[in-house]
């Protein structure tokens, strides 16, 4: 019985271990590549609303077959600006992993902090 319990525990721990570190790194690299266009989104809206600042927590999925970033939404939206939100989501939606991961990957916590560089 202990053998079966061990197998079950192994399978369950496999479920909880999260994303493959290699794929996670690739996702991180793709997110970093979007920083400049996201910064442009922020800059454009700061001209319109100079008080704009705050944190986003983005969740998204990576399509297993195409590697495309899909189902992008915000779990937290402190700036609460519809134009910034739309622009950032549009930039993230352009991302695609070079090598499709083969299975859908869900990422539930990508924090993005917006802050003016000058007082």
């Amino acid at each position: 019985m202990s053998k079966h319990l061990a197998i079950a525990a192994l399978l369950v721990s496999g479920c909880a271990s999260g994303t493959d570190p290699k794929i996670r790194n690739e996702i991180g690299a793709k997110l970093s590549s979007a920083q400049t266009p996201i910064q442009a989104c922020y800059q454009n809206q700061l001209y319109v609303n100079r008080k704009l600042r705050g944190m986003y927590v983005v969740q998204l999925a990576v399509n297993g077959e195409s590697g495309a970033f899909t189902d992008i939404s915000l779990r937290r939206d402190e700036p609460a600006d519809p134009v910034l939100r739309f622009c950032v989501i549009a930039q993230l939606a352009k991302l695609r992993l070079d090598k499709p991961p083969g299975k859908r990957i869900e990422v539930d916590s990508i924090p993005i902090k917006f802050e003016p560089s000058n007082p």
Partner: protein
């Protein structure tokens, strides 16, 4: 009895593996990605509602029109007068495209025509205030270039807008002449 329990456990293990983790287990708590710090320079504080940026003349207020028409509401005249002031003070701006945009409510063709007429209304106002017509062009985009999600009222509100895009500009001129 022990044998049955063992079989049950084995079946459970295989079931978990076969059904996929997400179907059986609650979503595993993931480590968040590192915070992406996004910074940008904000314009200095002031009463200005019109700000010259490298690519456009940004307005912090909206150009208002009569409902369903291209007639400017008088409340928007001071805002457009500021645009005039900025254009006169920056003669290096050689061509500005006045873009009219709508949300997706109503017919797209009607919205394109309305936004074109509204952009032309703004152009006429600026020209009447002394901006050379050769520095201005008007284009109505209707709902084709949204800047926010039309699924929500705040997004629709953001999409109903007039933009002043700098299409062509030369080197900064220090001498400002009155047009």
């Amino acid at each position: 009895m022990r044998r049955m329990r063992a079989r049950w456990l084995w079946a459970l293990s295989i079931g978990i593996a076969g059904a996929g983790c997400s179907a059986i287990m609650p979503a595993a708590k993931q480590d968040p990605f590192p915070v992406m710090n996004v910074t940008a320079e904000r314009p200095p504080p002031g009463p200005d509602k019109v700000i010259l940026t490298p690519s456009n003349i940004a307005i912090t207020d909206k150009v208002q029109f009569e409902l369903g028409k291209a007639d400017l509401k008088p409340m928007s005249f001071p805002l457009l007068d500021e645009v005039v002031t900025v254009m006169k003070a920056n003669p290096q701006i050689e061509l500005v495209e006045i873009g009219g945009h709508t949300d997706i409510t109503g017919g797209a063709d009607l919205n394109r025509r309305l936004s074109q007429a509204r952009a032309e209304s703004v152009m006429k106002y600026l020209a009447a205030k002394g901006i050379k017509a050769s520095r201005l062009t008007a284009k109505g985009f209707g709902p084709d270039v949204p800047v926010a999600d039309n699924a929500y009222p705040d997004g629709q509100e953001a999409n109903r807008r007039v933009e002043f895009l700098i299409v062509k500009q030369g080197p900064k001129k220090t001498v400002v002449k009155d047009e």
